[in-house]
């Protein structure tokens, strides 16, 4: 046989090349259809006689390199996988518009006008306890941030608004929040303005106030 091969080298080579091509097709189809990564030995079992599964897989891997899909080896198993840099194709970002709850909106308003403000102060103004979730939601919106800790017993956290807050509500600066007269003018009061009603001058200066300490290094308990 070896002699024959020497006599007709071209024919033999062509045949072998065809066989190798067929082996690659087989491995490709098996890997594509498999519902889990395939053992190399599993693929080897389907290879035509005399064809090395290692060669086939190496060649296939090379063929797929730089493509949208790549052939990867995990331990002794092989699988096709989306090229790493194309991962973005497989994720979809769905933005859901959501409305703030009334409690969150009211809390946000208090934070805006009264910042830096503590949870206890917010509760005092609203007259009801603040549920844990409300503050979480406001922090999630990116409109409220932890500023520091009030220099009082218990060192409660202080809250303030962010730049994103200004941006969302179309304010150039926090001082643009309307004062009492403007609020009245806007017809937001229904009935007479209560006695002793005053609107504080809000400030969102990033610098801490005199009675604020910086946040601790530890994870803050919000």
């Amino acid at each position: 046989m070896a002699e024959v091969a020497r006599l007709f080298p071209d024919t033999e080579e062509t045949k072998e090349r065809a066989l190798f091509g067929e082996a690659m097709r087989i491995a490709e189809a098996m890997l594509f259809a498999a519902s889990e990564p395939l053992e190399e030995s599993e693929i080897a079992r389907r290879m035509p006689d005399g064809i090395s599964v290692g060669d086939v897989l190496a060649r296939l891997k090379q063929d797929y390199s730089g493509r949208g899909v790549t052939l990867v080896r995990v331990g002794n198993k092989w699988l096709f996988r989306t090229a790493v840099d194309l991962g973005w194709l497989l994720s979809k970002n769905v933005v859901e518009p959501r409305k703030l709850s009334r409690a969150a909106l009211e809390t946000l308003a208090i934070v805006a006008y009264h910042q830096p403000v503590t949870r206890a102060e917010i509760e005092d103004i609203r007259g009801v306890a603040l549920s844990k979730g409300t503050m979480d939601v406001l922090i999630e919106t990116g409109w409220v941030r932890l500023r520091g800790r009030r220099r009082t017993p218990g060192r409660p956290l202080t809250y303030g608004t962010t730049e994103a807050f200004l941006m969302h509500f179309g304010l150039e600066a926090i001082a643009d929040l309307p004062g009492l007269e403007e609020l009245k003018g806007a017809g937001l009061f229904d009935g007479p303005v209560p006695q002793g009603f005053c609107v504080p001058q809000p400030r969102d200066d990033p610098a801490l106030t005199e009675d604020e300490d910086p946040l601790d290094e530890e994870a803050p308990e919000i």
């Binding site: 497989l90 769905v94 937001l188």
Partner: protein
């Protein structure tokens, strides 16, 4: 009659299996006709409808002789073929308003052709490479990950009216109502945390709590909230509580967290 149709249940006494007739084996009279037509071994377009009609009628007759129950469909077809046969045999009347017998025969031949064609089509359809049998889809699809993010909506007007609403309400409430004394659990916890920080040894709870009280109503509220907060802290392991007997004063003591110990 040279037709031989298999029958599942052959009578024990019957010696002529060739004559076993099983009408159930056919998908209706047209199917039976098609089978009979195939026996003519000619192109369906050139089939002798007269011969076909005679064969069908003979077949039905045979089945009846064997006392097979024959479905109405088959009998209707038999009646129609008997009519067709007589029309084909009789000369066509001049002023006959009925369709020509040859047209009827052609229509029948056409129907048989069509049935055969659709059969062949069905055959080649199911013999195509089929998904899940010969063709396979991706076995390990990579799912699209959907990350949801919220875009919060609120207008400045919403914000301002929320502010005014509560400030107004609260200011009004302050003027009109005498607020009922309440000591929230949070407040109680804060106070107790402070206390527990000090209570390295057993400390009586009551005197401390009573510091918050002025009046019976307040006393009740403080007791209730204080006790609830105490129990919560005991549950969390930050406090030990002791009571000598029912209604006796409560003693509390800070408990070191295990990690610190």
């Amino acid at each position: 009659m040279e037709l031989a149709f298999e029958q599942n249940d052959q009578g024990p006494g019957r010696d002529e299996p060739e004559f076993c007739v099983d009408v159930d084996g056919f998908e209706g009279p047209l199917d039976l006709l098609l089978e009979l037509a195939r026996r003519q071994k000619v192109d369906l377009a050139k089939i002798s409808v007269l011969a076909l009609a005679e064969q069908y009628l003979a077949f039905i007759e045979e089945a009846r002789n064997l006392r097979f129950e024959i479905a109405a469909d088959y009998l209707v077809m038999a009646a129609w073929l008997a009519y067709l046969k007589s029309r084909l045999l009789l000369p066509q009347a001049q002023k006959d308003e009925e369709p020509l017998a040859t047209d009827l025969a052609a229509a029948l031949a056409f129907r048989l052709q069509r049935l055969e064609a659709i059969r062949a089509a069905a055959e080649s359809l199911v013999n195509r490479p089929r998904l899940g049998r010969d063709l396979f889809q991706r076995g390990l699809p990579e799912p699209i990950e959907i990350s949801k993010s919220s875009r919060w909506r609120a207008s400045l007007h919403d914000l301002l009216s929320a502010y005014v609403r509560q400030r107004q309400k609260h200011a009004a409430a302050r003027l009109r109502l005498k607020q009922r004394f309440a000591w929230s659990l949070t407040e109680a916890r804060e106070a107790l945390t402070k206390l527990a920080g000090l209570a390295l040894d057993w400390t009586a709870l009551d005197p401390y709590l009573l510091a918050y009280c002025n009046g019976r109503e307040a006393r009740r509220a403080v007791r209730a909230s204080g006790l609830a907060a105490t129990l919560e802290m005991v549950l969390q392991g930050s406090l030990s509580v002791r009571q000598e007997r029912a209604f006796a004063p409560l003693w509390i003591k800070r408990r070191a967290a295990p990690a610190e110990a």
